[in-house]
């Protein structure tokens, strides 16, 4: 029983990080109709950069954290300006392919700069585990969930009340109408990429603190797909819920199915559930149904 609760908790923790990264996906998709396969690499970039700032340059974690996020935002802006803007108006498959190319490109650069061995964060959060009602939880986990939830709330507030947030929602809703109301679509696209990069950076730093930083972090980008699609590509609450569902599913299949299949079911079960859900609800749980006319 205790082990089930333990792994449920770790499922929630991982799920909260999935939710964060999924949020980045949804953001980009909502405002630019692009699926970003390079999200995992942006995450890797954030994790590596923050680690370098903390370990090599001995900058206090909080300052490193903030400056990493600023750097991530700049990278997001740069990528959008250099690679994505020329592709406006191209078919979706070309743009997907471009982000796949981008993923490969970024991975190459990151690999050249930081090498391939696993690097470990110095213990930033207190190491002794907390005991909550008989359940032992390591503090890194708590902080991760805390950060993730803070970010999720911040973004919800941003979309609801801030000027650019509302502008982004307008663009997502109807690009032409938004443009005729005086919203600069280019600016919105740029902001979307910057925010997505920042979100990925936060996710990367959190994951890096839990698992260490190495090249396999990039695969998080693929792992988050089930979460995003499950919730519906263009729904922010969907992304958050999808993230938690996938995280918990992974944890549960780790306990119940791994003994049967000798491991590895963690990667597959989310996808199987995904296909089943999609067969019943083709646009995910909360995605907007596209009504097409001839």
């Amino acid at each position: 029983m205790e082990s089930i609760i333990q792994s449920l908790i770790s499922g929630i923790v991982v799920g909260s990080i999935y939710a964060l990264i999924a949020l980045g996906f949804v953001l980009i998709y909502k405002s630019t109709a692009v699926i970003n396969f390079a999200q995992g690499e942006l995450l890797m970039f954030g994790a590596y950069l923050c680690l370098t700032l903390v370990v090599v340059l001995k900058i206090p974690f909080w300052i490193a954290f903030v400056s990493t996020l600023i750097a991530a935002a700049l990278v997001g802006l740069l990528l959008e300006r250099l690679f994505l803007r020329p592709m406006i108006g191209e078919p979706a498959i070309s743009i997907i392919m471009l982000t796949i190319g981008l993923a490969s490109f970024l991975k190459g650069i990151i690999h050249v700069i930081w090498g391939s061995e696993t690097l470990v964060y110095p213990s930033i959060f207190p190491t002794e585990p907390l005991n909550i009602g008989g359940i032992v939880v390591s503090q890194v986990y708590l902080y991760s969930v805390f950060f993730a939830v803070i970010c999720l709330i911040l973004f919800n507030v941003f979309f609801r009340f801030s000027r650019s947030g509302i502008a982004m929602r307008a663009v997502a809703n109807d690009q032409q109408a938004a443009q005729s109301m005086g919203i600069s679509i280019k600016k919105i696209f740029a902001i979307a990429w910057a925010i997505a990069a920042v979100v990925a950076g936060v996710g990367g730093i959190l994951i890096g603190n839990i698992n260490g930083v190495n090249a396999s972090l990039g695969s998080f980008g693929l792992k988050v797909f089930p979460a995003v699609i499950l919730g519906g590509l263009d729904s922010i609450p969907g992304a958050i819920l999808g993230g938690f569902i996938i995280g918990i599913l992974e944890a549960l299949s780790g306990i119940y199915l791994d003994p049967v299949f000798e491991g590895g079911s963690k990667e597959v079960v989310p996808f199987i559930v995904l296909v089943v859900v999609l067969m019943i609800r083709p646009y995910g749980l909360f995605g907007t149904e596209e009504i097409e006319k001839v």
Binding site: F83, I100, G101, S104, H111, L222, F225, G264, Y283
Partner: protein, 351 residues
Amino acid sequence: MAIKCGVFKTTYEEDSAIWQTKVSKFWIALLLIVLIAFPFVFQGSRYLLYVCNSVLIAVIAAIGLNILTGFTGQISLGHGAFMGVGAYASGYLMTHLGMPFIVCVVVAGCVTAIVGMIFGIPSLRLKGLYLAIATLAAQVILEFVFVRWRAVTGGSQGMLVPPAQIGGFAFDSDFKFYFLALAFTLMAVLIAKNIVRTKSGRAFMAIRDRYISAEIIGVPIFQYKLISFGISSFFAGVAGSLWAHYIGIITPEHFNVMISIQYLSMIIIGGLGSIYGSIMGAVFMTLLPEVLRLISGLFSNQYPILVNIFGAIREGIFGLVIILFLIFEPDGLAARWKTIQNYWKLWPFSY
């Protein structure tokens, strides 16, 4: 020998003919002679023949993916896994059931077609990006099966596959295998060329261009989508089977998601909805890493540091090439080739 200098077609038959002019027949014949003579000239270089064989196999699989993605408009991220199904099926049939090679290839293709059609069922309800992710699910699930179903696949240790053999003649060297691969590739090109100008081919394109209109004029969409998945997977299965018999040992890593992505990039760089495009894309994307390897080999003498990070540099450049291609030639190599052709058609009076 007249050179075509304009469009003078008066019937549909002429328009859809594979041999448009006598000149094109001549060039194709010349190309064939070069392809057949090639291995005799470079018989000594095993590496070169290996690269050529990889290209030929990639062409078959890329054509298959182009039928699904380029002609029918269904994005697939599971093509690598479908190749794997063909490879394992073929290997299993030969080693455990002792079937002859030709039977193995055909049955492997059919098995893959069935698997592909099963994973094509979500296309009944899913469209576009959602379908792309559903095929990604197919990739992940099949990879899991390759690793875990040890009784058939040999798990992560891999499966040993004997070389291809037809009527007592074993294709057990790069040189001999080249002709087998060439024969299969030519067949694949011809079959694909013919499929896309039949009723099914036109149905595929109608579904791609506007599926609602297609449905209204009486194209059973789901049926043709499944057929497209089946044909595409059949090609993948045959390619996988050839690869298995060529390389001799297959492991799940040969068919991971990176391979699927690579095939997708082949057809996008080559040109979606174009058989020639898939050939050019397959050639380009298979040669690119080899050329990069060659270049880095030249530099690594002077800068030994490069050897360590070579893999990373190659990956980075690979990505960059895809990006630049998409930005500067979004319609692919095939479209560029057409432009060049059209220019020369009327040269020097191009107005």
